[in-house]
Subunit: 479 residues, 2 copies
């Protein structure tokens, strides 16, 4: 027993080693430093070479300039304080609420009772029915509310699914690299194996099925029991949307090897190029064509209120739908979610509003559409500005996870500071410009490549220019 452990029960040397191993760069040291800069600026500090911190490390639109959608928030205000419903004339004539806002609030209150009450563990039944209708309309195939589980954001859904799947230290899960680090962090916590497969940067970060097969085979050869494959579509951090053929190839492989497909589809409305195809719709089409081959494919597809035009991360809402799961396994999933009682009920209500927004002809539709389209075009404009900027950068790239080719001198300087070269670059970028990104190593990247990841939610495009200017100066300094 060391001197430290003798003082207390817990020391860094004797806590859960899997917690220690987990890495989560999105909110790591760089993010902490950016918060310190933000606090300095708030106190009126003028020593820093910038007057604003740009949090491009995490998708947190409402911390930046994205306004919540009026219809959603008007409904939520009534759910939080139902006595307002007794003053319909005031709501309608003086506060600008429309009749469909009032009707929806009444319906949701009937469904959940009170937003201050626990719901059923897998979510309020009425809301799950609404999600099922949305999925049927989106995919053209039936959806059963009993297979839908409302969760506290997609993160909580991923945590549930991986908890059930990871049976032993030999269990492996195929994870795309680069990826949102939730997957690797969760697998570390569960002491299971992350089986990385590399996305193909030369093909718009598409999924190369041969890379998946190779990664699978190497893992199996090493004794790993590969049980699932994570697909992030559209991709985070790469922004790529998978083609129908790519999805088919993955499902075919999953059917053959009996892998659970975990389809992280939280960016399904953030599609600026190409078209979103849901895994469910492709799976059902394949099953229609060849029932025998595909009937037992297990698919879990996840969605969230945090992304897209909704952007309500702070409300922690989402859901996952299961297809083809063994009923006994579903019972265990139910038990697992019941241990944390239920997802936040106001977040469940936001899920309902997201999947069932105002329709053409309804009183709130015009404003809803105007706000939705406004957010969409703002995101598109910034994505395009970044795309153009990165393309023009020396050694730059075409995607929102740009490659950076650093001079040898910079790599040596990083080494001296005990940092990976891309981390060194990201810290220098933050120190010089106030723009906080995530080093590519936080998301994973092929050996001997360097990237950084930036979101495109910050207002305006001026800060994009700060990045390109910094990059030029950095390259000149270390050339």
């Amino acid at each position: 027993m060391s001197a430290t452990t003798a003082l207390r029960s817990l020391s860094i040397n004797n806590i859960n080693p899997h917690v220690k191993e987990a890495k989560y760069a999105v909110r790591g040291e760089l993010a902490v430093r950016s918060e310190e800069y933000r606090a300095k600026l708030a106190k009126g500090d003028t020593d820093l070479p910038f007057d604003q911190v740009i949090a491009a490390n995490i998708g947190n639109p409402q911390q930046l300039d994205q306004k919540p959608i009026t219809f959603f928030r008007q409904v939520l205000s009534l759910l939080e304080y139902p006595p307002l419903l007794e003053k319909e004339d005031v709501l309608l004539n003086q506060l600008g609420y429309k009749s469909d806002v009032i009707a929806r609030a009444k319906w949701l209150l009937k469904t959940v009772g009170s937003v201050g009450a626990y719901s059923a563990s897998a979510g309020a039944p009425g809301i799950k029915e609404s999600v099922a209708r949305f999925l049927e309309e989106r995919d053209g195939f039936p959806a059963d509310p009993k297979d839908i589980y409302l969760s506290g954001g997609a993160s909580s859904g991923v945590n549930t699914l991986l908890h059930v799947i990871c049976a032993s230290p030999k269990t492996g899960v195929l994870v795309p690299i680069p990826q949102y680090p939730l997957y690797t962090a969760s697998l570390s916590l569960l002491n299971a194996k992350c089986v990385p497969y590399y996305l193909d940067e030369s093909k718009s970060w598409g999924t190369d099925i041969e890379a998946v097969k190779g990664a699978y085979q190497r893992a199996v050869d090493e004794g790993t029991d590969v049980r699932a494959i994570v697909m992030i579509n559209p991709g985070n951090p790469t922004g790529a949307s998978l083609s129908e053929d790519d999805i088919k190839a993955v499902i075919e492989f999953a059917a053959e090897k009996k892998l659970v497909v975990m389809a992280d589809e939280v960016y399904q409305t953030n599609v600026f190029v190409g078209k979103f195809h849901s895994f469910k719709s492709v799976l059902r089409s394949l099953q229609k064509a060849d029932a025998e081959k595909y009937k037992n494919v297990e698919l879990a597809s996840l969605h969230s209120i945090s992304k897209g035009m909704v952007g309500e991360c702070g409300h922690r809402g989402g859901y996952f739908e299961l297809c083809g799961f063994d009923p006994e396994v579903q019972e265990e999933i139910y038990k697992f979610v019941s241990i944390s009682l239920c997802a936040p009920v106001i977040g469940q209500c936001l899920v309902e509003l997201m999947v069932n927004p105002p329709k053409p002809g309804e009183p709130s539709y015009e404003l809803y559409k105007q706000e939705y389209d406004g957010i969409f075009s703002g995101l598109q404009k910034r994505a395009t500005a970044l795309y153009d900027a990165f393309r023009k950068m020396e050694g730059g790239s075409m995607y929102l996870f740009p490659t950076i080719n650093l001079p040898q001198k910079a790599i040596e300087a990083a080494k001296k500071e005990g940092r990976a070269p891309d981390e060194f670059y990201a810290f220098r970028l933050l120190d010089a410009t106030g723009v906080c990104v995530v080093a590519g190593s936080g998301f994973g990247q092929k050996e001997n490549t360097l990237h950084f990841r930036t979101t495109f939610l910050a207002p305006g495009t001026e800060w994009v220019g700060r990045i390109t200017k910094f990059h030029e100066e950095f390259m000149n300094e270390f050339r």
Copy 2:
């Protein structure tokens, strides 16, 4: 490989065995059956021998008759739809909002930005400062916001702490029996050892320090690395409040054996007999008297918005405060909570409102106090009615976790159905009366004793009479 595993990736035989092992009776088979009865009644079914299902299995006050506190919910309505703040005259003159509601909403919005944005991972800084002030006032000792972590209900706090503490299958945590089954379920999931210590029914379910010491020693002798002790104060399901001396004895033992004290204090305002003493205040007093002996005691104390007069379970809010933890361990705790990003922000705001309610003289104070006292006296009335009923029941008990002494014939009938005798009793109670309780085995009980656990949140006291009538008939049937 069995036939089942050949069909799919996941079967009941190959999923995470620790998920399978976890038991969570509060939302188990009995609760599921009660939901079926509720659905039947809602459809107009008249076949059942009761016309109402009483959910006494789980503390869910707003599903029953507890109304949310007006001040809280008025503030939340403004947080959800901030443009209402531009209509102060309407709020004040037509909707009954007071000026302190508006001021608080403005302050909270300044603190969190938007309730739709992620906050810092351990919670919004301004809210943590407010919690610290509350703790200072409650305990008379300083509290540091950096040691406060806002969580999605106390369950999520318990999950975080146990995740960090449980380092290996040898790690043990002392847990009171009976207990709220979250602790045993979480330890099962983490593949750690639950080290049960039995509360003393003969002494109002108090903590018998000798029982704790005995349980500790037996576990250590068996090779268990006991690292922490869970204290539930006031007790769930027993309702007992610990005396200051009992708390001192536990802290002294924890100091001697270097155990983390996890003080679950979510019922701190539900005290009908005796007085609540916080572990923090007792610890700081002990440290004042003997700094050397107590300086390194690690205490994590948890609180929640779900219980007491707040009763906002559906909003999933709570916090824990750490005292005496190693800073490196606290960094790992921070990293762990950052993986799930942050607690629901509207729930964080409710934590702020709970710890900082209207004060005497402020515009909302009168109504707040009236509502608070009304809920308190309703709870007290029902607790007393149950206490009286259980005392009068044959073989009954004085506590809200009553002993049931079942006739041999009933025990045999239970065996035939493959159920534990107390489960058999609870199912019969539900089938006959619509009252859903939890069998004592779900909370843990000494061998050869039987109990059931009931909450006392359901409106009225008529249903208490249903229980006593059933009990009499049941005893007569199986005598």
